[in-house]
Symmetry: C2
Subunit: 344 residues, 2 copies
DNA sequence: CTGAAAGCGCTTACAG
DNA sequence: CTGAAAGCGCTTACAG
């Protein structure tokens, strides 16, 4: 007897296996197949099993475009970050991918270059695609962007910063407290003339600056002339240059808090080059605990920030929102950790 | 007289502005509007102008899902890279975004973690979405993955490596020649016992190794005992550890070619820590010219690789493919550049 | 050069 | 708990 396929498998012109094919194979209607596959409750267990088996047998892959068109919402999740060249955000993004992909959600990376206008543009075009949800960095955006998000009704989780505003879902840590903590550490090490060197000057850097000021003021040690703020993008080179500037113009300085590890690493290397002893002559601290900071000479004291966890928890929160699950908390403070190494 | 809108703007239940609305506003049929907006030739210039004006006035944003469903192909462009934590690929990705987004194409970042199986999985799910095109890293993949790409008929451009295989579109540079060139440089600096330290051992690293061997063999200087290959992921820490190993077990070494700058930076810092003079005692060279290499002590000699250009040219090539434009070349060799600094 | 018809593959109400 | 009908917003042939 010649072998016959379990059922007649007619392929449509496109060659694609559709929900119809699955339904036919399982001998149910397409709607039931759709419901079974999506795990909608209220389908007889036996039918669910039959449909799932049929789908597996045929190698059915749902068409996201058709789903997006038919339902109110697609499977994309725009993730807007300032920069990809900052390892910080790459870590966040990797974590987001890891959580979202297994749930059939597709992260869409958008880069704003720290420009609220650019973010607004991106948001406009992404929201027009009716994404499932949105992940945004921080709270600093144009009024129009805020409106767009609100009007869309699309679930949104904010990363990196925290707020108490009701109904706002966010996951991060207190940038200000972290800036305070590392400054406090330098004071406890006996430092008195503590400088702050920063670049980029995005909102989170300014929050760290605020923590630095609050701490030094409380200790009666604040001196505005020890703040070196550059709007240029952060880099090791710039860190070295700014440290040189500082040592020349404020020779009395005995510690430096760099707002980011790349600046601090550059500072450490410049100190080495100039023969400035760290931590004897000046103590050095960074922020974020980026790759390489533990390899410096001396190893860099810094603040370890929970960026992977931010991505994971943020994506998880969005997932709950999409499922209308009750949230344990709408604002997740993931904290930070002081990492004391040889440079302070 | 009360103000009246230019035409009656009835919104559909979804609230969305559709092609229909634009067509009505421009007083043409939806098909003509569609053609005008997509810049399909064969539409009267006047109508095109009218449609575009109407679209702008209404703030029309086309629905990618509907477009994808109706046409054979969507607007997504999966970009598969091994790792996001390697700055190399982040640069490639940023360049790809810059080129693709203005053309209405949406890059989808996929991370394979150097695992062909993982790549195959990603490919399977991405191709089921009928993307407009695909960007893949290198040529090392499973047979099934190869088949998937071929069977899909979806335009594909390969990044980072080159091949002469007909009909294959690729953009990169010769990893082997680059490995050869930096080794040659070390020979020309008078070095005779040149080691190779590598991690990750992905296909491109192995190609660089081949260039290193070819060069040393030609000079009669090859010594297999000077190769240190570790399958671990690349990092500064590992670079330092491997250099220490090397100095202990092969004290006769007088130069090291690290397969990547992060390893080399770690090596340089380890040398500093150990009091090993660079370049007097050993010359050090890296690969890729990553951020920070110019800040090292001494600054790192390396090979600058054209990763931004690879992203740009690769995306541009895909764009041409999508438009059925004739390609100037199907294989673009973007070359590399020796950057000689203090470490050699 | 322009348009009327049909359909892409799925899901949302609406019935039973 | 299951299904027949209609439609999401666009584009692809097919006519004229």
């Amino acid at each position: 007897m010649p072998p016959t396929p379990p059922t007649e498998r007619r392929r449509r012109p496109s060659g694609r296996i559709t929900l119809q094919d699955v339904a036919r194979e399982a001998e149910v209607s397409p709607i039931t197949a759709s419901r079974a596959l999506r795990g909608e409750r209220g389908v007889a267990a036996e039918l669910v099993a039959r449909v799932k088996a049929a789908a597996a047998r045929l190698g059915y892959v749902p068409d996201p475009a058709a789903r997006a068109l038919a339902s109110a919402r697609g499977t994309q999740v725009p993730v807007l970050v300032p920069l990809l060249s900052n390892a910080l955000f790459v870590d966040v993004i990797e974590a987001v991918h890891r959580v979202l992909l297994p749930h059939g959600l597709q992260p869409l990376i958008g880069v704003t270059h720290y420009d609220p206008m650019e973010e607004e543009q991106l948001l406009r075009s992404y929201l027009a695609q009716r994404p499932a949800g949105v992940l945004l960095t921080g709270f600093d955006r144009t009024e129009a962007a805020r409106q767009l998000v609100a009007a869309s009704g699309i679930p949104c989780v904010y990363l990196m910063e925290l707020t108490d505003a009701p109904g706002v879902h966010c996951v991060g840590f207190s940038q200000q407290d972290a800036g305070h903590a590392i400054t406090q550490h330098l004071i406890e090490r006996g430092r008195r003339r503590i400088a702050f060197i920063a670049a980029q000057l995005d909102p989170r850097v300014l929050q760290r600056a605020e923590g630095y000021r609050r701490c030094l003021r409380a200790a009666g040690l604040y001196d505005a002339r020890l703040e070196l703020l550059s709007p240029q993008p952060s880099s090791m080179r710039l860190g070295g240059e700014l440290l040189e500037d500082l040592l020349r113009t404020r020779p009395e300085v005995d510690a430096v808090f760099f707002c980011n590890d790349d600046l601090a690493q550059g500072g450490l290397l410049a100190a080495l080059r100039l023969g400035v002893a760290v931590p004897q002559r000046i103590a050095v601290a960074g922020f974020n605990d980026l790759s390489g900071s533990d390899q410096m000479l001396p190893p860099l004291t810094t603040v370890r920030t929970p960026r992977r966890a931010i991505g994971e928890v943020g994506a998880g929160m969005l997932l709950s929102l999409l499922r209308d699950e009750p949230l344990a908390r709408s604002s997740a403070d993931l904290g930070f950790e002081l990492v004391v190494r040889g440079s302070s």
